[in-house]
């Protein structure tokens, strides 16, 4: 009986519990665009090493931040108001989230990051909810006909002088 309980405990200990996580990150803008992919590759390596598998990914793109963020690289402190923002959704053991957190904290290429548990399904809203502003725009702004470009014919000096005289007189 006792052996059975022990055996059951052992199997539950050996079982690797997988969870769905999402990591969002900001890469500092001083990193060259061609090197951004390499930096993201490092995140992928950490996840793969910890036995994780990828579900979805958003490629890093330059994003303007809502406020300035402080970044410290050794003794050097700098502030950024834009960064490359990207995200990865993955399934991995619990320990891998801690390992990834540690990697992101120590790597100076990252301005800020967030890791949280999520669901496998797509969480982005597919339908853009109508905004009050949009309704107002269609109500108030009337579409004015665009001015058609007048055919530009070569203008003679005489015509130009005559037109100038008409204006000045």
């Amino acid at each position: 009986m006792a052996e059975e309980i022990n055996a059951a405990a052992n199997t539950s200990e050996n079982e690797v519990v997988l969870r769905i996580y999402e990591v969002g990150y900001h890469i500092i803008p001083t990193v060259l665009e061609e090197n951004v992919e390499k930096v993201v590759g490092d995140i992928r390596t950490v996840i793969e090493k910890a036995g994780g598998s990828f579900i979805a990914e958003g490629a890093p793109a330059m994003t303007r931040l809502a406020y300035e963020m402080e970044h410290q690289d050794g003794d050097k402190r700098s502030y950024f108001d834009k960064a490359y923002f990207g995200w990865i959704k993955f399934e991995a053991p619990i320990a891998s989230a801690a390992a990834l957190e540690e990697f992101l904290k120590t790597n100076v290429s990252f301005l800020r990051h967030i890791i949280f548990q999520t669901v496998r399904e797509e969480t982005r809203a597919k339908i853009k909810a109508p905004t009050l502003r949009e309704v107002k725009r269609t109500d108030t702004i009337k579409s004015s006909p665009r001015r058609t470009e007048e055919a530009s014919a070569p203008v003679s000096e005489v015509d130009l002088d005559k037109a100038l005289l008409d204006i000045t007189e």
Binding site: G24, H26, G58, T63, L65, A66, Y67, M69, A83, F85, W87, R112, I114, F116, V119, E121, E122, T123, R124, A125, I127, K128, A129, T131
Partner: protein, 65 residues
């Protein structure tokens, strides 16, 4: 009348959906009350969590002058 999330059949709130989240914050950047948003308690909690994540990641401001 049903709220925006129910109307559009939105099951999950993502912190990256800034345009959607902006509809639940006032011009000062504060989260609107349930009285104004008309969300269910569960939806309101999800929106609050998403707004906080978006603020932390600099996608939404903490305060707006």
């Amino acid at each position: 009348m049903a709220n925006i999330l129910t109307q559009n059949d939105i099951q999950h709130i993502d912190y990256k959906d800034v345009d959607l989240l902006k509809q639940f914050v006032n011009p000062h950047g504060r989260v609107m009350s349930r009285k104004r948003t008309d969300l269910t308690a569960k939806q309101q909690r999800a929106v609050e969590a998403a707004v906080k994540r978006a603020r932390f990641m600099g996608l939404l401001p903490y305060i707006q002058k």
